[in-house]
Amino acid sequence: MASLRIEGVQIVGIVNAVPDRIRTQEDDAARFGVEEMQRVVKNTGVTRRSVADYLCTSDLCYAAATRLLEVTGWAKDSIDAVILVTQTPDYPSPATACLLQHRLGLAPSVAAFDINLGCSGYTYGLWVVASLLAAGKLKRALLLAGDVVSRAAAPTDRAVVPLFGDAGSATALECRADAPPMVFEMGTNGSGGIHLHTLAGAAKHPIREIDLLERKRKDGVVRSNQHTYMNGAEVLTFAMVGVPPMIEALRTAAGWTPADIDYYVFHQASRFMLKNIGRILRISPTGKQLVIGLEGYGNTSSASIPLAMNDQLTELTTTRRKIVMAGFGIGWSWCAVAIEMMPIIMPDILRVPDVLHPGEFESLPDHEFVNPSDV
């Protein structure tokens, strides 16, 4: 498709949750060196990140969704669907959204599934949820988007570790006849999939012992095959070349001039990337149109767009604003949306204690070894 328009669906509220564990530039300098970190921070713009040693995507999204239900006053049985976008689910199966249905105490009539996307996930998720609501004439849905990318990174990968943070978000969407339209522009180029992926752990490459070895690779990074692989230069090229035309196409489809747009909230990939995409799109570098909210959180994958709005745009709680959001990355996959947002409910970012929530599957007696010495 070129672009598409969804009518009659409105974003009512957004809550974001991050782990209360903070890693600072200084913490990272202890591992990567002071000068290296100065260079890194100059490019990334990330001076500290919230990271989870224990929390999972489910835990962060649970905290966000629980608060969202409180602040919206939405009854649990008024929710028709809960959709989770993540590339770091709790388990290979079942879908984490199914487990969250139970944990959140939602009705069994709720529809639930996971979508496996990362940096393009929030905007893709808005498209899917808005479509489900509009086409099915549903009432209300929760879009959960979150990732614990830091947990999938090799600890010594200096291209990944100092940049990424963990976060979960919950967005309340509702059918309202008078909602302004959402205009979407999206696409996919799987030839870029190789540049950002996790090699081992699914059907093409189940994990054997050799995949667990943390060894120095040809690109200089020490990692196992269970860790995330990223070719930063390729990601940068993809985003900087691909995003500006997408935004121009979206502006045309929405019938918006550059001056109409109050804010651009892009996936918070890195300050370097955002600044230069902004430059290519001729967004004034001195104004506040281009939202950069990654300093305190890092690149939080599928949660970065709602988190940046929460961090930088508190005026959204009182003021109607024309927003362009754009997610882009792993896949390659991209999705942008132009939304005229009515005032939304958006309380302060939650800080969730980074403690272990033992998985119930682990304690299942059926998993125990018959002969405990067999370890």
Partner: protein
């Protein structure tokens, strides 16, 4: 685009004060790194719709050679 305007764009890419680039600089005298290469490619794509190959941009040694890659889009 005029040459002067395009030199200002390169100033922008390299985060130099506007007016720094005159056109005869060797890249080795400038903060020209791999990020600048990507930036240059993306910028030319955005400005002119030209898709430059990374290898071609990496081979260049001077501002003059860089401009030559988008000859036809920049006025003499």
């Amino acid at each position: 685009m005029t040459k002067t305007k395009f030199y200002e764009t390169i100033d922008d890419i390299l985060e130099l004060p506007i007016g720094t680039i005159k056109g005869d600089e060797a890249l080795s005298t400038l903060p020209w790194d791999s990020l600048a290469v990507v930036n240059y490619i993306a910028t030319c794509n955005g400005l002119f719709g030209v898709v430059l190959k990374g290898d071609r941009v990496k081979e260049t040694k001077s501002i003059g050679e860089l401009v030559a890659l988008v000859a036809g889009h920049v006025e003499d």
